[in-house]
């Protein structure tokens, strides 16, 4: 009897793993079928107004890149503070708050940026979108930096100090170097996460049908446009949405896998 229960339990567990894999497979296969169906290289050459995706892809990269340019230095500096300088309560409070911020609903962050940037500046803009994404990214970078720095052995720091280096030199030249791979992985995963975000951009950057590099006006966003296109009744729009989803997913998964690959190789 015990053995039968055991067998059933193991079977159920394997079954649920298969269910999980089946969902992944189902989604990916759907994306490939629908996406490749309407995929064409001219999508990369035309803007949305001419039925292409060029402006959206460029726009999404600029938004996420800008967010990374804001979020990575801030997040890393904050992580360094928590791990290297902050001894005591304040550092712990920041660590906890950053954990909470990591799970804050992304649409609420969008509403926040809308209230503090879009309303005062009088309209949606690329800047607002990038800042919303940066707010999403900062806590993830803090978390990674904090964790990775804590893995660096204390002896390394002591050796640096013993050689007469000042603390910031030790941190920048020794500790960060030692933790570089781990931090890079974390940052890539964070980037992969924000480049696929839609909710924080809905009312901050919105999207645009035209190619633009001007960050002070509504900015083209792949994800927001997917949402718009998918809700339109014409089949052509929905096909375009599938092609865009396919490109987005491939991008996200490639960045994500690259991040994992780096760590695996170094280990």
């Amino acid at each position: 009897m015990r053995l039968i229960v055991n067998k059933i339990f193991l079977a159920l567990s394997i079954l649920s793993a298969l269910v999980g894999l089946a969902f992944l497979g189902w989604i990916l296969i759907t994306l490939f079928m629908k996406g490749l169906n309407s995929f064409h290289f001219s999508l990369f050459l035309n803007d949305l107004i001419d039925g292409g995706l060029r402006n959206l892809i460029v726009g999404q990269f600029i938004l996420a890149g800008l967010a990374a340019a804001i979020g990575i230095p801030l997040g890393m500096a904050a992580g360094i503070y928590i791990q290297e300088y902050g001894r005591g309560r304040y550092a712990n409070i920041i660590r906890d708050l950053s954990d909470i911020m990591m799970s804050a609903p992304s649409i609420v962050i969008g509403a926040f940026v809308y209230a503090i940037i879009v309303v005062p500046t009088g309209g949606t803009s690329g800047w607002a979108g990038a800042i919303a994404l940066a707010i999403m990214m900062i806590p993830v970078v803090i978390n990674t930096t904090d964790n990775m720095l804590s893995l660096v052995p204390r002896e390394l720091r002591e050796a640096g100090i013993a050689l007469g280096a000042s603390k910031y030199k030790v941190i920048l030249d020794i500790v960060i170097k030692a933790a570089k791979v781990g931090i890079m992985t974390g940052v890539l995963l964070a980037f992969a996460r924000i480049i696929g975000e839609t909710a924080p951009l809905l009312f901050t950057s919105e999207t645009s049908n035209y190619f633009t590099l001007n960050l002070s006006e509504s900015f083209p966003s792949l994800t927001v446009s997917i949402y718009d296109l998918a809700n339109e009744p014409e089949k052509a729009s929905r096909d375009l949405a599938w092609a865009a989803s396919f490109i987005l997913t491939v991008l996200v998964l490639v960045i994500n896998l690259t991040g994992r690959f780096i760590t695996r190789n170094k280990k």
Binding site: G20, Y81, S166, A241, L253
Partner: protein, 347 residues
């Protein structure tokens, strides 16, 4: 230089604090108009953007305002009659004489009711999106919980190391797929099948909850696996040595040992599900009606925001910020509970 570096890193760390407090205060101030207008009655009112006769609402509004702001000295009854007079005469001078709350109400009336009869006003209530959010989250958890536990057990205890590694990566990739993709896939491929099986609408509480469940599944499985992995091998081995089966080891050794961590991961997943926007937006139907069955459409807080923010202005926008504030407070509470009570204890 050393000092400067230290200052910069301290300042960056403080940004977290500033942003979180900033979010709270901004949401609070942006929703002020709606909070003053509807008070806590917002939480139990199922009407959204509906015209109701002016007088009874005005009285409840004043009752609420008086409860919240005790410095309002005016008699409720007098106020109500004053307002009637003002609306009838449309007298600018008298409006200026009224206190803030009344100004707000009247300004809103001017906006919304211009051209129509002055006897109605627009009310917003948060009950439908709040109920929608809670129900979709419950459906998602009910669906995801057993499967996630099964996957975690498989990864932590059953699968050989290399299979566990590959399946683990696959599950984490599922977590990396952008939520908007889940939404599209759910709407065009998953929902029709569910609707065929269960009946009812393709866009409904049920389909939204199930897709949400698929989304939080990998997240929940990954943290649960990590908690299970903290069980010391010595414990497991001694149980096996006593002749326990794998099921018994998992049930009697690993599960009790990592219970707190597992509960923490469930609550964390719940926090995710509460705030998820895009996957739900495709599937929930987006109508402000309380669902009368599990397979009828409704709306959730994030979706209400996503779909109505663009067109909203004045009191409507403020009401959306009120919803955002409620969502922020709920998820803040849920996440803190998970992080500080359960996951800390697990460490």
């Amino acid at each position: 230089m050393e000092k400067l570096f230290q200052k910069i890193s301290l300042a960056s760390a403080s940004i977290v604090f500033v942003i979180l407090v900033g979010i709270f205060l901004t949401l609070l101030s942006s929703s002020k108009a709606a909070i003053e207008e509807f008070g806590l009655g917002f939480l139990t009112n199922a009407a959204w953007n509906q015209e109701v006769p002016l007088n009874p609402v005005n009285e409840t509004v004043h009752a609420n305002a008086a409860k919240i702001f005790e410095d309002v000295e005016l008699n409720t009854q007098d106020d109500a009659t004053d307002d009637e007079a003002i609306v009838d005469e449309d007298d600018e001078d008298m409006i200026a004489d009224e206190d803030d709350e009344d100004d707000m109400i009247l300004a809103d009336e001017d906006e919304d009711e211009e051209g129509s009869s002055a006897a109605t006003k627009t009310v917003y209530g948060g009950l439908v999106p709040i109920v929608g959010t809670i129900l979709t989250t419950i459906i998602a958890l009910t669906f995801a919980l057993p499967i996630a536990m099964g996957i975690a057990v498989f990864l932590a205890e059953i699968a050989p190391k290399n299979i566990s590694y590959v399946v683990g990566i696959a599950i984490e990739l599922l977590a990396a797929i952008p939520s908007i993709i889940f939404g599209m896939w759910g709407l065009y491929y998953f929902a029709p099948i569910v609707a065929d099986l269960v009946g009812g609408y393709q866009v409904s509480l049920l389909t939204a909850g199930l897709v949400l469940g698929v989304m939080i599944l990998p997240f929940m499985a990954a943290i649960t696996r990590d908690s299970m992995n903290t069980t010391p091998n010595v414990l497991k081995e001694s149980a096996y040595a006593l002749g326990a089966t794998k099921f018994e080891v998992i049930k009697d050794i690993i599960f009790p040992y990592s219970k707190v961590g597992i509960i923490g991961s469930i609550i964390l997943a719940l926090g995710r599900a509460l705030g998820e926007t895009m996957a739900v937006a495709f599937l929930i139907g987006s109508i402000f009606v309380l669902p009368d069955a599990i397979n009828s459409p409704t709306i959730s807080i994030p979706v209400a925001m996503a779909n109505n923010f663009g067109e909203a202005s004045g009191l409507g926008e403020s009401a959306l910020f009120y919803l955002a504030l409620i969502l922020f407070i709920i998820s803040f509470g849920v996440i803190s509970l998970a992080k500080f009570y359960f996951l800390k204890k697990a460490k």
